[in-house]
Amino acid sequence: MGLSCNPIASLSPSPMSVEPKYKIIQRFDEEEDKLATTAVARQGSPDFEGFAELCDAARSGDLERVEKAVAFGVNVNQIDEFDYSPLILASLCGHYEVVEYLLNNGAKCDRDTFQGERCLYGALTDSIRQLLLKFDISKAVDATQPFLAHLAKVFSRKLFTDVVFKGVSDSGETVEIKAHKFFLAAQSPYLTQVVASKTKSVIPIIANFDDFEYCIRYLYFVESDAKESKISHKLDITFDDFYSVAVKTKLAVYFEKLLDQKITTFEPEEDVIDKLSDLDTFPDAAIYTRDEETGSRTYYPVHKMLLSRVEYFSLMFGTDSFQGIDTMYAEATSSFPLLELDQTTPEVAEIFLQWLYTDKCEIPRDLALDVLFLADSLFADKLKSLAAIVISQAETPVASMADILRAAWATRIERLEHYVAQHISNDLDEWIDKEEFLELVEESAGRVTARQETDTIELVDDVRYYLGKKWGVFEEDQDEKTGRVDEEFRISQYERRYNEDLDRIDDMLDKLKLGA
């Protein structure tokens, strides 16, 4: 590549006299920090490292690392000290898939912005240019951001609202807005005051109702245009591209408060409900986990409005059901349902909740498998792939290969199957004689119902593939039938090793009386 890549590793402050753009954004972030303790894209912070990682991955075209960074909530629309955004880097270096992935995950490329123009100008290939042009649209709600889309959806469908604002619009009509107290309280101190009363659910708004309504709609990402007013200042709304970050950041702060209100107790459910429903965070449900040894429960106050992000809960509350069919379960009819996360520890539950409220989370490697199972059982797909990424990227395996492989099968994550196969092929000497390996091969074979002699065994195929990678054997050199490199020609020692490994696998299969 003839392009000079800027060394992202040098993190020393830039000596430029004019304040560079990234600093302005940093300053913006710091101002936000007055409200939030979590830092966004600041040098030395975990997020900044995440962003550096994202830029590096975008430059080298490593889709997997890009996915990981984005999945962990790195803001894709930041820029580095040279004003490069990940999208510009990927487009400049010609990585079509990475560009596509970034665009699909909210990276912006609007022609009327400096970044967007630069991105188009620097596109290495025509196909990338076309791709960028296709995405050159500013959307009201960024559909590529499911979290924001969810907010807009619950607001416009008036789901799980607990407060009504009434007022008279400029055109003289009586209008009302339904919203969620906790969400508004999280967004600004002013609104916290407005909704402060726990009992009052109807709040009259006297002046500037139209402005007020617009601000609320903006908060929920239903509106996108800047429309400043006295109220927007009071509400602490800024009209810019980083607004979505601000909303999430504020939610993250609120979530910390919510987490502090958890209760671990043996008390009967009624008492718990009494206690929880009285909290100043306005919860309308609780999630709990049960300690299998002591039988104590840990309750977390939560909000249905965000729970319904997950398909499991939206089914439970019937929010996705089509009209005319009444699917009211006990949980949906209860005014304050207590919902169990089965066979889950508080640590895992908290990771789930963090993701639910802030759209990002950190998963410690030793909890990754638990998170994976929980996410799978609740259909929290994004969380599931986050967990899978943690497992496949861990430097030392998070569990035994057998456990990981079985988890991969149970939760249907191919990426993890490949991960295990690669692992085994790298240490084939050790694995080939292990009883565990033979069991896994047999299990893999058994996954195909009514298996025929000639059917393949996925695990074995994957291992063969990674052996080829390991020994650097070109696919063209492999015999179509046997997979081996033809020994009649002069072959390298690596290729010979490769053939030997295949022989050993065949021996093993013979032992198991499996043909594949």
Binding site: E293, E311, Y312, L315, M316, S321, F322, I325, D326, T327, M328, Y329, A330, E331, A332, T333, L339, E340, D342, Q343, T345, E347, E362, P364, D366, L367, L369, D370, F373, S377, F379, V398, A399, S400, D403, R406, A407, A410, R412
Partner: protein, 778 residues
Amino acid sequence: MKMTTQRGKIKAPRAKTSSSVSFDKSWEILASAMTKIQDHESSPLSFELLYRTSYQLVISKMSAQLYDAVKCHISAHLDKVQAGFDPYVVVARDDLSLAPKFLEGLNKQWSDHQTCTKMIGDVMMYLDRVYCLDNTSSPPKLADLGLHLFRDHVVGTGPFAEYLYKVLINEIQREREGEMVDRIVIKNVLSMLDLLPQSKSNKESVLVHCFSDQLVAATTNFYSQAARDLLDGNKDPVVYVTKVSGWLEDEEKRSKYYALESQAYSPLVSDLTVKLVSTKLPEVMALPGSEIRKWYQAKKFDELKTLYRLISKGFPQRSLLHHLLKEQIVSEGQNLNSASNSAVEAARKEKKPSAQQTALAHKWVTDVLTMRDEFAEITAKCFDNDVEVVKSIDEAFVEFVNKHARVAEYLSLYIDNLMKKALKGKSDEEVAAILDSTVACFNFITDKDRFENYYKAHLGKRLLNSKSLSDDAERQLISRFKMAAGGAFTSKFEGMFKDIATSADEMEFFRKSRASITADSEPSSAKKVELTVALLSGTYWPTSIAQGANYTLIHCADAENAKEQFEQYYSKAHSGRKLEWVPNLGNADIRIKFKKKFHDVNVPNPVMPILMLFQDVGDQSISFHRIQMETGIPIPDLKRHLQSVSVAPKTRLLKKVPMSKDVNETDEFFFNENFEAPMTKIRVLAINATRAETDVERDATMVQIDKSRQNEIDAAIVRVMKSRKTLNHNNLVGEVTKQLASRFKPPIPTIKHCIESLLEREYLRRDDNDTTLFHYEA
């Protein structure tokens, strides 16, 4: 994140649960829940519990078992549901009066089933996602399973299905006959059939696969019978058209309501259209009472619109309408033609053909134009101004108009009449409308050269005698002709106008020059004759005008003097031009003193010298022969002129001996001193006013036209060959026909004849090898 001590070791979280799950226990929970759902007792159910129970079964690899159990459970329930319909299907199978209740019940069961399936699908979501994959080899998703089971266990293919289809057809038929039925229930049941797939592999719905054909057949049968009844009764095409269109509209609306256009109903409507319109309508429109013009005259505009809609539906490109219009217009036109011809015959028998001819021509053209206007209104009001239909109508007009032998002459006569009389007192808009329709009629004529001939003659006479009411109207008409047939066609007409204009200018100059000459040289005693000359270029004007002008009229001395002066002036002003006088055109104003008083008499040009002979003769008579000698007028012309001044009662300026109606060569003439008239100004009419041709004249015109046509064909052939150099016979004939199409339709034998003559004259050469090939010889 801090670790508690007991979680220090990593455990495989869910794998261990698999052994502890008992299928029977779990299934018991789920089965009882499903029963509750089916019995509408879902509210106390815990989603959490049910979901978790099914989740654990799946995770413990018991998906297949669970799936089968669900399937059995639903099937058993649906079997019971079907049994519940036995009172209708089995017991009262032929009593369709219970049908509404049956459909209502079925609809209820169906919507319950949908709800249940949805709820079961919700709590078994994990099974659905993991076990039912999106490929053909995996079992269907639970929602689809619900449909399959309902199809197999309720609708089926046996007596239940038979009864259901019968009931549906019967209910729809009742609705058709105007009875009250529960349309919503019918609609729901139909959409149920539409949702049920025929089989797992065949995604076509049960509705399309099993029911649609029956419905279509039943409906078509009903309407076919109704149509037959209609035609057996009164055979009024108007009634048929209105009814059938109503039926079709009803069925379309019905199919829209049931939202089945794409599925079961569209074959229905199109089938009906074929049966009732495409095959029946031609037959119906052949019955008496189907004349479109009569419908129009009876102001049946809505019916005509309906007819148009029906034909549009049932015939590609509305072929039937084109056919009908052509046939009807041509036959009506033929009627007009034969009426006109028989009137001509009648007039001929009464021996006064020419005077009435004009009236006949006027009537015929008016009739044609009326008919044309009527059809134009019909197309505009009822046929959507369909361009193709307009074209068809025009073609029909062309066909019959040209069958009339005298079309060109009649149209020209009609226009002559318009210009002289009929346009009087009409507003500009009215005039424009009349001219438009006239041009439309002109467009129908194929032999435009023939028309040109007549028109030239008539126009010439109007111009020379200043008979036109409005020059503007004349010019407007010519510009319309120009648009319709091109500049070449109207160039001569325009030339005629130009001649008249230049004549006026010339006369202005002539008068000035003559005034100066008179002042200089002439003695003032000489009587001065005013002279106004119309200068006509020979090429523009019809040769017929100069016919019979091959004699020299001898004027009195004063007039001859004026004539000479003009000749002198003209040869001086335009050297190299030859003047030829046309004696029998033009007028003269003479003042005559009678016993009672003076009269200003306007006479045709040749009459002037005749009267001048009587200027100083007193009571003496002048013989016919002497008049002939002194004026130089040929005998037949002279007879005519004398008749106008000595026989016509109002203008008897001369007395004739003996008194008789006819003028004979032996007659003697006297000046009629006692002539009396109420007005001071008198006009002596020439006895050759515009009128239709006699047969002899017409034959002469035809011969003349044929001759000019030959010239035109010759010219066309040479033009074509000059540009192509080499061409075979067929192509040459084609090209020539195309070139002349705007003038006339050249008969092929004539073209051949012309080619032959051109070969002889060596304009063309036949190819040595290929006899059909011609070369142009420069």
